[in-house]
């Protein structure tokens, strides 16, 4: 007989051991999956996890790592704050898209003027766009009690349609020979979010991600607001008695995560992606949820988890190219990782006892 005994407090050891265990288990399960797809599993794991970091052309891929990890970390930093408070913003993908549309729209509106003020204005517009999109579920939850999970998720589909509309309509490149998609911001110096150090992959989005991680770390561990967020998540009733206003908490968490997701979208559209197209939303907003959990809702953890998830993106592209593995294999891989993490978390919150009498 196996029995589970609830721990009075989560085990600190298992809190950090479970993500490592989950990654290892996912690699094993992934190897089985790859073998089932007819690919040499060891070769696949090497291409995905080893070659981009230490293989022959690693110099190029290390730059890609920051490009992919930046938006993931930036979005996850905001989501983690909300998840701690038990506020489930799962529509970051929508906030990311709206931030990109708003940021790009500001840049495109003043094209081809050149000024140092254009880029900062785009940053502000991107953050505001994401914030506004995040505030919709916050407002509807506070005013009417509507589930923020469902509303924020529905808004992803609305945002995707908005994106397609913008790409085919108002933001379409007038000089694009009728092709959908906006002008390429990479060819517009005042709006371009280029690499800060050549070859490093670091653009302003990466800087913003690091700043967001430091900021949320300070907020959560050094500020009264962070303490309130923590209490609200762990013991909602106690929080209410302690004078935490739930409505303000909802607005703060959804607004913050929305603004950060919007920023991520804006930096992406002005940088690596370059233009608004209907295929712009690439699922960063959903992967960031995995990053937040894998990083234990902790800024340092999110930094590591973001880099790891970026590695699976790059390795996945490589595996697609070299081993003809389908792109979806990486999505399955990421889903399994979250499964294993959530499953192994049993060890964090419960003690497992074998044998023993009932009532002992």
């Amino acid at each position: 007989m196996i029995r589970l005994i609830a721990r009075p407090a989560p085990s600190r050891f298992w809190l950090w051991a479970t993500p490592v265990l989950a990654v290892l288990a996912t690699m094993v399960a992934g190897a089985v999956l790859f073998a089932a797809l007819g690919t040499d599993p060891l070769e696949a794991l090497k291409v995905i996890f080893w070659d981009p970091l230490l293989g022959a052309n690693a110099g190029y891929f290390r730059g890609q790592l920051l490009i992919k990890a930046g938006p993931l970390m930036l979005i996850a930093a905001g989501l983690a704050v909300g998840f701690r408070a038990g506020i489930w913003n799962i529509g970051a993908e929508g906030q990311y898209i709206v931030g990109a549309i708003c940021g790009a729209a500001v840049g495109l509106a003043v094209y081809p003027a050149e000024s140092v003020l254009i880029f900062p204005a785009m940053v502000v517009a991107g953050a505001l766009g994401g914030w506004a999109w995040g505030m919709i579920p916050a407002l509807l939850k506070n005013r009417f009690g509507a589930s923020e999970i469902l509303v924020s998720l529905m808004l992803v589909y609305v945002a995707q349609n908005l994106l397609a509309w913008a790409a085919f309509g108002p933001l379409k490149n007038p000089a694009g020979f009728g092709f959908p998609g906006s002008r390429n911001l990479q060819q517009y110096p005042s709006a371009h979010n280029g690499e800060l150090i050549a070859g490093s992959g670091l653009h302003w989005g990466g800087v913003a991600a690091l700043a967001a991680l430091v900021g949320t770390y300070v907020l959560m561990s050094r500020h009264i607001a962070g303490f309130r967020i923590q209490v609200a998540g762990d013991a909602p009733k106690a929080a209410r008695f302690a004078g935490v206003a739930p409505a303000r908490l909802v607005a703060f968490c959804l607004g913050l995560s929305g603004a950060l997701a919007g920023l991520a979208g804006m930096f992406e559209v002005a940088g690596p992606s370059g233009q608004i197209t209907d295929a712009f939303g690439a699922g960063y907003g959903f992967t960031a949820i995995i990053v937040a959990f894998l990083g234990r809702l902790n800024p340092i953890g999110i930094l590591l988890a973001g880099l790891l998830m970026a590695l699976t993106y790059i390795g996945g592209d490589m595996a697609q190219l070299m081993l003809r593995l389908p792109a979806a294999a990486i999505q399955v891989f990421q889903g399994m990782l979250l499964f294993f993490l959530l499953g192994f978390d049993l060890l964090t919150n419960y003690q497992v006892r074998f044998g023993g009498r009932v009532g002992a």
């Binding site: 509303v151 529905m154 589909y157 349609n161 389908p326 889903g335 979250l338 499953g343």
Partner: protein, 310 residues
């Protein structure tokens, strides 16, 4: 009968077809939630049902076998969710999300070889003279068996919840799992069964999309239908007869916007495509506001982890 260039009879007939996938998934989720489990993985179970059914139907050549495969795929996904949340006591919201992400990926992986293939057609049932009735004939009596199956499911689930002993146990488990456990009911077993049933129906809903409604396999083809099904359960205040109403309402909106697209109104297609999602939000808000200060309609133990300490 036409209104603004739209044929109302054809609209009503299409509505029945468009609503069926959401209706099936929402009935399944209703049972799971009545047992106290919030499974946010409906979208993932639906899409696995869609590809499972599609592959099954193409390989066996029988659409009915396809639906069976779809139901199995959905139930299998639900059991993964059940194992994680009921045995390993993981957080239901996060696990449901993981199930959706996993299902979207895995279905795309399985579906690689099935793009551009046509599935065997699901035959319409023959009602003889009834099908020739004016108005009623095309609207009610010219559909395939799954449409009637989904309606029969509404009645069956209503009877089950209100008039059967097992239905009472299911509701007890969903309202107060501690008390149900103390009375000797096996909370985890009941919840696993409810989840598997919900998964099977979600899988059939996905199957209906890929085998009848579209009929084709494309990656991510559920496009939020699973999430709309979740919203409909809230909209219905956890009552199955209102699930029917909700599903047909949303089916109606979907069909109407498709017809408006086809009728060539000067509204951009993308803005029309938003309509079902925007209306889902609006209805969700109205229903939530109504229940704000009144009696809570949700099962009391919904989403809570059950750990038998004794």
């Amino acid at each position: 009968m036409t209104l603004g260039g739209i044929d109302l009879v054809a609209l009503a007939a299409m509505l029945m077809v468009a609503s069926t996938p959401i209706l099936l998934a929402a009935i399944g989720e209703l049972i799971a939630e009545k047992a106290g489990v919030l499974n946010l993985g409906v979208e993932g179970m639906m899409i696995m049902g869609a590809i499972g059914a599609f592959a099954g139907a193409v390989i066996t050549g029988s659409p009915a076998a396809g639906f069976a495969f779809g139901a199995l795929a959905g139930a299998g996904m639900a059991l993964i969710f059940g194992f994680l949340t009921q045995v390993l006591l993981s957080n239901q919201v996060a696990t449901g999300l993981a199930l959706t992400l996993f299902g979207l990926g895995l279905s795309a992986l399985f579906g690689k070889g099935f793009e551009g293939v046509r599935p065997p057609a699901t035959e319409k049932l023959d009602f003889g003279a009834l099908a020739d009735l004016p108005v009623l004939g095309p609207v009610l009596f010219r559909h395939d068996w799954v449409v009637y199956f989904s309606l029969a499911m509404v009645v069956a689930v209503w009877l089950f919840l209100h008039f059967s002993r097992s239905g009472l146990i299911l509701r007890a488990v969903g309202e107060n799992h501690e008390a149900a456990h103390a009375l000797g009911y096996r909370v985890v077993a009941v919840r696993m069964a409810a989840l598997a049933f919900g998964g099977a129906l979600a899988g059939m809903g996905g199957a209906y999309l890929s085998l009848v409604r579209v009929p084709q396999w494309t990656e991510g083809m559920t496009a939020g239908a699973g999430w709309i099904a979740l919203a409909i359960v809230v909209f219905a205040s956890w009552r199955v007869e209102r699930v029917l109403l909700g599903a047909y309402l949303f089916g109606g909106v979907t069909v109407l916007q498709l017809r408006l697209q086809a009728a060539g109104y000067a509204i951009p297609v993308q803005l029309l495509s938003m309509a079902p999602y925007v209306i889902t939000i609006i209805v969700l808000v109205i229903i939530s506001a109504r229940h704000r200060h009144g009696a809570q309609a949700a099962p009391a133990a919904l989403g809570k982890t059950f750990h038998a300490s004794r």
